[in-house]
Amino acid sequence: MLTRQILFGLFAALLLAALPSTAKARDKLPVVATFSILGDLVSNVGGDRVAVKSLVGPNGDAHVYSPSPADARTLADAKLIVTNGLGFEGWLTRLVKSSNSKARNVVASKGVKPRKLAGKHAHDHGHGPSDGDPHAWQSVANAKTYVANIRDGLIAADPAGKAVYEANAAAYLDKLEALDREIRETIAKIPPERRRIITTHDAFGYFSDAYGVEFVAPQGVSTESEASARDVARIITQIKKQKIPAVFLENISNPRLLKQIADETGAKVGGTLYSDALTDEKGPAPTYIDLIRHNIRTLSAALQS
């Protein structure tokens, strides 16, 4: 008898424990972000009211991503889809169509002044022909635009949460403002002639424009094209000629090629800069702010010495 009572008690306790959480999960607004950085921005603005899913997870490369059927299901369930725009997610349009999703679409980069892609790789970079450089989030000022767009999108999809979203967004925008100041202060400490680095992936155009650090890339804007001997030779000549102090690895490109270049020129391998993807929890860049902060610290450590 006693055991049965205990069992009943346990069962009831389980039910009680399970009920509120499922109810809460059902109430949350299902939002899909195309990649991890957007996902982080959305969850900062949405807070507890939204359940965010990033299609391309941490450390994934959105340029060469191929969607799975599970992604189509996620999209079909979503109320709001947040995309970067600027041609970054070429694979998404068809996926949205095929998943029959009725969700609203927020283009986070709306209102950002697109950077023109420069150089010979512009024709084969895999984004649409008329699009600019899609990596707009590398400038914190643009990230603020992203946050505003996301906030407006969330309010449109879930008017009841207006106050929450506005408060969250305002708090987060303050943090971004502080981050922006931090970057400028750090850069100011680096001598101007040393503000020049090489990195594998030409994703830092906006960062470069905003903060005055020159980035030179051995490959084009996309990670898709393979470097030729001529490209590598040019980079090496350039490093030697311009006395570029540091080369940087990234989490999504061929690290061996860069090491090779560093060995040959004597430039310093400055660590890893993160561009298109957050790391997982254990990595140095699990959120957008961490990512930018990590990048700026890595940069200044390599360039100051």
């Binding site: 997870g57 941490p58 450390n59 994934g60 490369d61 060469v64 991503y65 191929s66 990670t223 898709e224 094209s225 393979e226 470097a227 030729s228 001997a229 001529r230 490209d231 590598v232 030779a233 090496i236 989490n251 999504i252 061929n254 690290p255 061996r256 090629l257 090491k259 090779q260 270049i261 060995d263 040959e264």
Partner: protein
């Protein structure tokens, strides 16, 4: 002028010298392997094996990142498993060796791609499929050199049974039991050469530096030994000219090497002294006497 075009790139840039050493060592090992594959009508087996190696290398990559020794060891194991299973099935059932190999390599390839993408990262898959001859570090160069050396020594040891098995396997079986072990050693050498090729040319083109020079050799020699010599020289020439092509025209380096080999093949096909098309149309005068 000639110096600027042909030699200066290598004199000036360390990475070009490394790439050159890499493809030379690769050609040295891959040439003879390719010739034997061709003579044993296993030309496409190289391609199949290249894909079979993928899951092993992928597991090696997952365990220890871009550590080439782990990837090589994993690749060797996967290649062996596939080769042995395919041989076993072929010997004990009705299925022929090519069919069972096809089955096993496809399964293996699927496992490899799954392993890489389940991990949530497709980051290095592309670099894995298109290795870069321009990014050979010391470790990789040493690995390629070790593989080439092992290949040459290994082939020297099993040369006689291997040649006999190409020409007359039944006779070999009647006089010696060396055929089986020789075959296995040969497969092992094939796999280590493929792994070498991965680092320089990627999985898709690793077989290219093996088979195309071998086919070129076939048009210039009747005997095995000169055929191997021609194949090795053709491989080296393709490597050198391919790197120059990539340097001067911005073509990606790996494909450039194989393209040059393809051009050499076309020339050999037309003008080769053994069975070349032109030679067939206009037989030499000495045959008329």
């Amino acid at each position: 002028m000639l110096y600027d075009t042909l030699i200066a790139p290598f004199a000036e840039f360390d990475f070009m010298r490394r790439a050159l050493v890499g493809v030379m060592a690769l050609a040295l090992g891959a040439g003879p392997i390719g010739v034997f594959l061709m003579l044993r009508r296993m030309s496409l087996v190289g391609d199949a094996m290249a894909h079979a190696v993928l899951p092993g290398a992928a597991i090696g990559f997952l365990i220890s990142g871009l550590n080439i020794f782990a990837m090589t060891a994993g690749g060797l194991i996967a290649g062996f498993v596939v080769a042995l299973l395919a041989g076993l099935v072929a010997r004990s059932t009705e299925l022929k060796e090519d069919a069972s190999l096809a089955v096993f390599f496809l399964i293996s390839l699927a496992v490899g791609v799954t392993i890489i993408s389940v991990r949530g990262t497709n980051i290095d898959l592309l670099h894995f499929l298109f290795g870069s001859v321009l990014a050979l570090d010391n470790q990789t160069l040493i690995l390629i050199a070790i593989n080439a050396t092992a290949t040459l020594f290994g082939l020297a040891i099993i040369y006689r049974p291997l040649v006999l098995e190409c020409v007359d396997p039944l006779y070999l079986r009647s006089v010696s039991k060396a055929g089986g072990p020789a075959h296995l050693i040969f497969l092992a050498l094939l796999v280590i050469n493929l792994v070498s090729g991965f680092h320089a040319l990627g999985t898709l083109l690793a077989v290219g530096i093996m088979m195309v020079p071998a086919a070129i050799g076939r048009f210039w020699a009747r005997d095995v030994t000169p055929m191997i010599v021609v194949a090795v020289l053709a491989g080296m020439l393709s490597g050198y000219a391919g790197l120059l092509l990539s340097f001067h025209t911005a073509a990606p380096a790996g494909p450039a090497v194989i393209l040059i080999a393809g051009i050499l093949y076309a020339i050999s096909l037309l003008f080769g002294s053994v069975g070349g098309l032109v030679r067939q149309l206009f037989p030499g005068r000495h045959l008329e006497a």
